[in-house]
Subunit: 413 residues, 4 copies
């Protein structure tokens, strides 16, 4: 065993633990109410320190957990080791695992015959509905962490294929308002700076997609001095982006002037062959969306020589038209593959919602339809109140007079 690696992972877990105060309080509540006692939970998440603390918290509250990665390039091996050695968590994940290994690891999680699953991108849940259908009856419910996963699961439900209730953790206000926006915003540039050491100020930086993630990335890019261009397919969001001070262009125009392109759409082929034919020489391509298909690697392979690695996390593609582009972390989510993922305090909120959603499923799954369910607003409120407390903030409360006023329609000019 690699002592130094273990030490590193151990410290990273401890550091996360020290800075996840909301999850700690939720964890204590779960321990006390014993709702998770003996429950088997299969998890597929990015295996790094914050996720590790979610697993540890659930385990401490009495659940039996098993953890695989939801992405081949996002595992922090030091944390994985420390989880196994020091925290007694069963982990199946390795940074740089092949696609085969990736699915083997998901299978290992399902081999524990979980009662509940916690998923990130819906690969695990899809697996249950395709190659491991025999387990479907045993599964009582699941949580889904991402926009991408929720879109997939809603499509599944629309097709009448979804067989157990799933909590749309992503759609909780205390999740998407913070994790998708401030989380992705910061961690994308953590990844970018690590991967490239390039200047952001003064760059023409294209953000593809102006959803919650996209506006987080655009906001931070501007905050770091870039001149931001947004591409969108939704006209209302496009106008918002424009009025937020960004340029708005179709991708075919944007690529011509882009120094950097970051995709965060949840859709595939956002940068594709037609764009590569006119892309600016030297453009750096990176993705912070869930899957590595936003920048089409197939297209890159078609119009370029095999890539040359030019930095630990950057490959250069020499295009047949004489230009070159750089791809960060093989098009996988750069905030985790080149960086350390979302900031600790952000995941503290997201994973508190995860833990509460699991408790909710455990308590209520019997009466819940096999559909995608919203997180109850009172959970958002609970997490928000604890978070405020841990930040040392107090806020106003409506007076009885004000409450009455807001319920009343008769008082006017």
């Amino acid at each position: 065993m690699d002592r130094e690696l273990l030490l590193k992972g151990s410290r990273r877990l401890g550091w996360a633990e020290a800075h996840m105060s909301v999850l700690r309080e939720i964890g204590e509540r779960l321990e006390k109410n014993e709702s998770l006692r003996g429950v088997k939970v299969g998890m597929a998440l990015h295996v790094e320190a914050k996720t590790g603390m979610l697993a540890v918290t659930l385990a401490k509250a009495g659940a039996k957990v098993r953890l695989a990665s939801c992405n081949p390039l996002s595992t922090d091996d030091s944390v994985s080791l420390a989880l196994k050695e020091e925290r007694g968590i069963e982990v199946y994940a390795r940074r740089g695992e092949s696609n085969t290994e990736y699915y083997e690891n998901l299978n290992s999680v399902l081999d524990m015959r979980p009662d509940f699953v916690i998923d990130d991108g819906a690969d695990l849940i899809t697996m249950l509905h395709t190659v491991r259908r025999e387990q479907l009856e045993e599964i009582k419910g699941g949580n889904e962490e991402t926009t991408t996963g929720v879109i997939r699961l809603k499509a599944m439900a629309r097709d009448g294929k979804l067989k157990f209730p799933v909590m749309a953790v992503n759609d909780a206000r205390m999740k998407y308002l913070f994790d998708n926006r401030y989380g992705t915003g910061q961690s994308t540039f953590d990844g970018f700076m690590n991967a490239t050491n390039l200047l952001i100020a003064g760059k023409e930086l294209v953000v593809a997609g102006y959803g919650w993630c996209g506006r987080g990335v655009a906001m931070r890019a501007k905050g770091l001095g870039a001149n931001v261009i947004v591409t969108e397919v939704d006209p209302i969001r496009a106008i918002e982006a424009k009025l937020d001070g960004f340029q708005v262009l179709p991708m075919m125009q944007a690529v011509r002037q882009a120094d950097i392109i970051i995709t965060v759409t949840g859709c595939k082929d956002v940068v594709r062959k037609e764009h590569l034919s006119v892309i600016k020489d030297g453009c750096v391509l990176g993705n912070s969306g869930h899957f590595d298909n936003e920048i089409s690697k197939k297209a890159l392979e078609e119009v370029a020589a095999p890539p040359v690695r030019v930095r630990e996390q950057v490959e250069r593609y020499d295009l047949t038209n004489g230009r070159k582009v750089y791809l960060i972390s093989e098009g996988r989510l750069m905030n985790l593959a080149s960086g350390q993922g979302h900031p600790v305090e952000i995941m503290d909120m997201s994973f508190s919602i995860q833990a509460l959603s699991l408790e909710h499923l455990v308590r209520n799954h019997a009466s819940m339809a096999p559909n995608v369910h919203s997180v109850p607003p009172e959970m958002d409120e609970l997490v928000a109140r604890i978070k405020l407390k841990t930040m040392g903030l107090s806020i106003d409360e409506l007076t009885p007079t004000q409450k009455k006023y807001l319920d009343d329609w008769q008082e006017g000019t």
Copy 2:
């Protein structure tokens, strides 16, 4: 008649007309489809150039309109005159009208026995449900422009009191995302600068409320160099404000350090007696919320000598504790009372939604329940598409492959 005033109003109307391209296109559509032909519309809105153009547009499409002000201090007398003299619109409004006149004017509008009403703050609709109930049966529907009005009308509907269908124009994405945020954001500081000529940079500026209006004001205050403090009652919004880089404090603390306080809550008594007892000497108080009860004038009167006017739009209150505060435009919405209201292009979008909502009511009122109704998403989309065109912007479209991908749940890692 004041020739100079008329000329000024005439120009202001013409200027608005030249810059409201979306409304022009919607207007042409209404003219062509003749849906408004002969319809009687009673309107209570801020009587200034953009509102004027809404009235003109509806009239041009065949409606019979009558217009009163929805606020005693927001009328632009030059526009009012030009509407009457040059555009043939019946207007009942005067800047600085008394409360009695205010209600007389609303009554004049109702005297036309309208089929539909367009309201801003719900005073007109409330009137119909209280002192003019005899007309209730004639009214086929209404539009409501503001957050405040929608809250009132939902309370009314909850009580089972609302007697005709009302379109929640405010809640359309093409309205609140832009009007409430960028509109209130800019026009508040137009009003502030006009009223005070004071520096914004470096000031401790308190924004009460972090709804759509509040975040617009906070965003612009920051953009003008203020150090912004947000007060809120909603814990989730409070955390958002904090993570947007603002300070978050309860009002009792905020007032102690505030150089400027701007209320945009839709609630009353946001600055009240307890706050005035500890407020910073010299603090400037202004309101951009709909009603003039957000800063309690009753409280001011109780703890101060009668106000002294110290600038055209500012009064000084000398508090009994020896400090002084300044109040802008008597606590009425400063963006209209001290400024020129929302920018033209913003109202172009809002009033396009107004016109389309009216058409929707005309066509569908018979089948609509006496409740508060959402604006159909296709109207948002339509207005957005026209707006994009007038801005000269084009955006991406999903390819068939992408559409299929987004509907599909099987493609994963």
Copy 3:
């Protein structure tokens, strides 16, 4: 006499007085030390409330002052009236005065046979060196307020023509760092909003010149949501602008996409015939530089029909190529001609430097060469310390150990 106008001016003066605490303290110092007793001061400044308070302060300290406007469109007639009626100041200025009147007024100021002059743009001083050379011997010194004026006076000194010492008030840190940047930044948009009621967010806004004024305008344009394009002739400033997140383009390209152009260069013909031939239809042109030659009106007249006034402060030029542009306030500094000029607190600092510079001239003129002189750093420091106090701020002081460390070169790694 117009009672209402007087009342307005009286209030505006009183408001400025109440918010110029630094100048008040400097004024008390001058009264006490009697340095200005009996000194005759001829002033040419923008005649509005803050300038008025400078005149009042000098007069109160014993000087005999006479004041004309330094620009035909920047006078606030209400303040002019109140200065004469209530404060006993001799004022020669009227908003909208002709060029002839303008020079008559400057002459009236010089007719008092001043010992010292306070100038803004150097028209008064130039007059003394051309048509009123007979007075040159009597003049003991002058102050100059603007970048433009200082450039002119340095050219004059380079040619050996300057005949008395002039304090470059503009170049004092407590002046240009604040007045040129935060002052011009805010007041330009006060003027713009007043003149147009147009939306700034989402607009392509060109700022010509990235000096202190230009970066103030660019910063605020960005803060109000514009997409800012900078034009420059200095390569270093151009790179700064780019790295500050702005687009940088030559004017010939910038005009093609500009919704709004604001000139702040101190140079002439910044927007000229060649640009007008390709300018975007509907572009709004405004100037915040000292003279009205930055946007070439001669060029406009050559390529367009006579202008049509379309709003109180906006004229439309219909170009022969079928496009139209709008010009704010006839190309005169829009922050004063359409707005109320720099915020009070900014002028409080600038005019404190003015008053101290005058005192400096009075005390030292005999030993000062006929050249452009820097404001001594201790005046900056004095004004800064008083300003900090009035803002209620305290800051750190170097400890003796730290002072020693900064003077020492031996302590290293």
Copy 4:
């Protein structure tokens, strides 16, 4: 030899090479003019990829170079290895070297008997003036990279101790305007995110010092969502910070509410014992100034138990008062010790000035006094013009009419 380390270093050098276009052009000029042929240059800089490329460029132009680190924690061992193995540069540096090794390495550089020295922080030059005075006569000149070093050297010159001419590279506009501001701004947060994975948005972040580095850090902190508090000793800078929208506090107050403190003052003991007694529990301390004495480690040792390493680059100090603080990279410049240093394109500009300053010294040293010399403005201009070209930007040029106007003082209103 560690093949993997070499590969990493080789790639990092190649990546820097590919993105330093200005230096490449300057290098070609030096090769062609042969000014550096045979010149011996001793260098003490942060040994990482960009510095490596400066050494490579000088060597390629014919100089004989030897390189040591100017800081014990800033060496990138991979680059050091690649410089030696693949680029033939003599390097004396190791990450984590002891103070003894540090000085041994500086000595090794001086052992080559250089003609010129390139220094960063002035340790090398100080050594020459103290323990290696025997070489003083041989040294023809030096360059100094930092604010800190220039301050030391000016103190030395003031004392009459400096024995050869030194170019104040730091004070060139193309250096400090970019390197100190955008460079330190970005790289500080590269280091911070790497070291901590903590959220920046919503944090109370104290920036000590509002010089060029400090305003870079403050600007980026704001851009990343922090609520920024500035501490200063200069009243004018303090007011600037305030008007830039930051809070300004004395350190004794700032520490009470600080979540993060970043020192960039160039002074020592900025966070000291008195501050630690009231510092907020959990505060993260980091330094981006040149020396590791800005946060007093002596004070930390006095009031806390020996530090515990809690993350790769973070130690926790448990204070005797029960609170804890975290220190990043032992108080050494976090942007290099925890991050990868300034972005490549920034150092491209700084090192172009370095190379030109060296050429200037080589050509002119004989006639230069033993003093601190400014970089001639034409070098700034040259670097700026090349930089503009490499960015693909073109800018305006003054017309002959404009040039004449700017030289003329007679044209006025």
